[in-house]
C-alpha cells in the first residue's frame, strides 16, 4: 500500500525533492499542491479512516487536511521534516476536533466507540470495506498511543524514525511501544498467551 514517493525523504534526492516541493507549496504554486495531493492523499485518508471509522467522514476530513494545509502554506518551515508529517499532524488535529465534538454531542457518542476501526464501520452501509469486528474489538483494547503506533507503523508503513518524529518520542520508545501494541493486539485477538507480558505503555 505504500504510495510512490512515500519514502523519498529517506534519500538525499528525496530530501531535495521534498525541499523544492515545499518551497513551491509555500508560494502556493497550484501544481505543487496537486503534486502533494497525489503523493499523500491515500496515506492521509487511510490514517483518518483508521481513526474515525466512518468512510464518509474520513473522506471529508482528508479533503479538509489539504485545504487547511493550503491555507497555512506559508507557515510550513521545511527543515528536513517530511511534508507528510506536517499533513499527518493536521489530520490528527482535525480528527481530535471531530472526536471532541462527538463527545460534546452526548454521552452516547463515546470516545472509544468513535475512535475505533470497526464499530461504526459495522453499521456503515459503505460497500467497499468490511472491517473485521474482531480486529476492531481488539484495537479497542489498546491504549491510544498503541493504536497510534499501529496506525503509523503497520498501516502507513512509517519507519521507526518517522514514527518517532510524528509521535514526538524516541526511536527506542517507538520500538517498545510497537512491541507492546502487537502483544496487546495478539492477546485481544485470542492468540496464545503473551509470555513476557505487555503491560501498559
Amino acid at each position: 500500500m505504500r504510495e510512490s514517493g512515500e519514502r523519498d525523504h529517506d534519500h538525499p534526492a528525496g530530501h531535495a525533492d521534498d525541499a523544492e516541493l515545499a518551497a513551491r507549496a509555500a508560494r502556493r504554486d497550484p501544481a505543487a499542491w496537486e503534486s502533494l495531493f497525489e503523493r499523500h492523499y491515500r496515506s492521509i485518508y487511510t490514517y483518518l479512516r483508521f481513526r474515525l471509522a466512518n468512510p464518509h467522514e474520513a473522506e471529508d476530513l482528508a479533503a479538509q487536511v489539504f485545504e487547511t494545509a493550503y491555507a497555512r502554506a506559508e507557515t510550513f518551515d521545511y527543515r528536513g521534516v517530511p511534508i507528510q508529517a506536517w499533513l499527518l499532524a493536521i489530520a490528527r488535529n482535525l480528527a481530535r476536533d471531530v472526536i471532541k465534538k462527538r463527545i460534546r454531542r452526548g454521552p452516547s457518542d463515546d470516545l472509544e466507540a468513535a475512535d475505533l476501526t470497526g464499530q461504526l464501520a459495522e453499521a456503515d452501509p459503505a460497500p467497499a470495506v468490511h472491517l473485521r469486528s474482531d480486529l476492531a474489538r481488539a484495537l479497542a483494547e489498546l491504549t491510544e498511543d498503541q493504536r497510534e503506533v499501529v496506525r503509523l507503523r503497520f498501516i502507513l508503513d512509517k519507519s521507526v524514525a518517522e514514527t518517532a518524529i510524528l509521535m514526538e518520542r524516541s526511536e527506542d520508545a517507538v520500538k517498545n511501544l510497537q512491541r507492546r501494541a502487537l502483544a496487546a493486539l495478539q492477546r485481544a485477538l485470542g492468540g496464545e498467551h503473551y509470555l513476557s507480558g505487555g503491560g501498559a505503555s
Binding site: M1, R28, P30, W33, E34, F37, E38, Y41, R42, Y45, T46, R49, F50, P55, A58, E59, A62, A63, F66, E67, Y70, T117, P125, A126, P127, A128, V129, H130, L131, R132, L135, A138, V150, F154, I155, V160, D172, K175, N176, Q178, R179, L182, A183, L185, Q186, L189, G191, E192, Y194, L195, S196
Partner: protein
C-alpha cells in the same frame, strides 16, 4: 529475555521478515505471535487502500476546485484625477472625441459579439448539476495523464479529472495515455462542478469517438418547454441526477437546434441501458402530461443498435442478464454468454426501472438476486471485470 532485547529482535524481524537466528526458542515463539498480530492488520489495510483509491477522484476534484477558488481575482485599478469643471468635462480637449471613439468601438464590439454568439445563456449550465452522472462529447484541447480539457459544443470548456479514468481508442482498446489534443471524444463521469466556465467532471472513461457525433447548428441549447413540430432528434448529452430520479438530455432537433430536455430518468435509463453509449442515438420525445418528457429510442441513426454493436463506442458498452450473487461492491450477472463479474463504480447510478422498488430501498440493501438488469459501462481488460456506471433494473424473470 529482556524487553529491550525483544524490542530489537522484533524490529529486525519486521525489517527483514525473518526472525533473527540468535533468538532463543522462547523469544522465537513470542516473535512469531507478534508477527502474526501484525499480519492481522494487513487484510484490513488492503481494504482501506482500495477505499482510498475509490475516494481519490472525488477528493481530487474537490481540492482542484478549492485551489481554483483560492486564486486571487484580478483587481480593478482606477486612477484618480483632479475633478475638472463642468465645461472642461464637456468640452475638455480631446476627451469628448476620445469618449465618442471609445463608445463607437464598444458598440461595434458588442454587435460583433452578439452576431457571432447570440447568447451564452444560463441554460447551458443548467444542463448539469453537481453529482450528475454525465455522458458528453467534445474535442480535446489539453491532455495530461491526470487532467484533460475538452471543448464541448454544449458546455464550452470542460475539465476532466482523468487519474481514475479509462482511456479508450476508437476500437475500444484501453490505452495508457489520454486522447491527444484534437481528438473527438466521449466522456463519461460524475459532475463535480457545474458552474459556467468551471465545469469539471470526474472522468470514468475518455473514449475516442468511433463515429462522428452530431453538432447541430452551433447555437446554444434552449430549454424545451413544449413538444416541437417534429418531436425527434439525436442525443448529444445525457445526465442523470444523483438520486436517479431526474435526468436531462441535449437533443439536436431536425432543424439543427439544440434542445435541453428535462427527461424522465427511467426512460433515459432505458436508452442508456439499450445502447451503453447513447450519444448519437435517435430518440423521440414524448410529452408526459406536464411532467418531464419521455425519451423513446428510434431505430437507425448514428447510435448503436440494440446489441450495442452498431456505431456508438465499443469500449462503452452494455450487458444484460440476471443478477446473481451480490457482493458489497458488485454482483455476478448471468448473461446469455455466461456469468460476468460486475463491479460498481463509485458514483454509479441505479435506476429501479420496472421493479417497483425505490432507489432508497435498493441502496439500503434490498436483495436484488434474480432481478433482470441492464448495465452500462466498460470492460476492464486488466481484470476481465465489467465496471458498471449505470444499472437499470427490470422485473424478476
Amino acid at each position: 529475555m529482556t524487553p529491550d532485547r525483544l524490542d530489537d529482535l522484533l524490529q529486525r524481524a519486521l525489517e527483514t521478515g525473518v526472525i533473527p537466528p540468535e533468538a532463543d526458542p522462547a523469544e522465537r515463539a513470542e516473535l512469531e505471535a507478534l508477527l502474526a498480530a501484525r499480519g492481522e492488520l494487513r487484510a484490513v489495510r488492503e481494504a482501506v487502500a482500495r477505499e482510498a483509491d475509490a475516494a481519490m477522484p472525488a477528493a481530487r476534484a474537490r481540492f482542484q476546485r478549492h485551489l481554483a477558488a483560492q486564486r486571487p481575482a484580478p483587481v480593478e485599478v482606477r486612477t484618480v484625477a483632479a475633478r475638472p469643471s463642468f465645461v472642461a468635462r464637456l468640452f475638455g480637449g480631446r476627451r469628448l472625441q476620445f469618449a465618442g471613439s471609445l463608445a463607437a468601438l464598444l458598440f461595434v464590439a458588442l454587435v460583433a459579439l452578439l452576431a457571432t454568439r447570440p447568447f451564452q445563456g444560463a441554460q447551458e449550465v443548467q444542463a448539469l448539476g453537481v453529482d450528475d452522472y454525465v455522458q458528453l462529447s467534445g474535442v480535446v484541447t489539453e491532455s495530461a495523464p491526470d487532467r484533460v480539457v475538452i471543448s464541448s459544443p454544449d458546455l464550452g470548456p470542460v475539465t476532466v479529472a482523468a487519474s481514475g479514468a479509462a482511456f479508450l481508442d476508437a476500437a475500444g482498446v484501453a490505452q495508457q495515455t489520454p486522447p491527444a489534443p484534437g481528438a473527438a471524444v466521449i466522456v463519461t463521469g460524475i459532475v463535480r462542478d457545474a458552474r459556467k466556465g468551471r465545469i469539471a467532471v470526474d472522468g470514468q472513461a475518455l473514449a475516442v469517438a468511433a463515429a462522428a457525433l452530431p453538432n447541430g447548428d452551433g447555437r446554444p441549447a434552449d430549454r424545451l418547454r413544449a413538444l416541437p413540430q417534429v418531436p425527434e432528434g439525436t442525443l448529444a448529452l445525457v445526465a442523470i441526477g444523483r438520486d436517479g430520479r431526474d435526468g436531462r438530455a441535449i437533443v439536436i432537433l431536425p432543424d439543427g437546434r439544440r434542445a435541453l430536455v428535462d427527461v424522465d430518468a427511467g426512460s433515459l435509463g432505458q436508452v442508456v441501458a439499450a445502447t451503453g453509449s447513447p450519444l448519437g442515438t435517435r430518440v423521440r420525445i414524448a410529452d408526459r402530461n406536464g411532467g418531464p418528457f419521455m425519451l423513446e429510442r428510434l431505430p437507425g441513426g448514428d447510435g448503436p443498435d440494440h446489441d450495442g454493436k452498431n456505431g456508438g463506442h465499443p469500449g462503452l458498452t452494455r450487458l444484460t442478464g440476471t443478477i446473481r450473487s451480490t457482493t458489497p461492491d458488485g454482483f455476478t450477472l448471468e448473461t446469455a454468454r455466461g456469468p460476468v463479474a460486475v463491479r460498481l463504480r463509485p458514483g454509479f447510478r441505479i435506476l429501479p426501472g420496472e421493479t417497483g422498488l425505490s432507489v432508497a430501498e435498493i441502496r439500503a440493501g434490498t436483495n436484488l438476486d434474480g432481478y433482470s438488469a441492464a448495465v452500462a459501462g466498460g470492460l476492464d481488460p486488466r481484470t476481465g471485470t465489467f465496471i458498471a456506471a449505470v444499472v437499470v433494473l427490470g422485473p424478476r424473470p
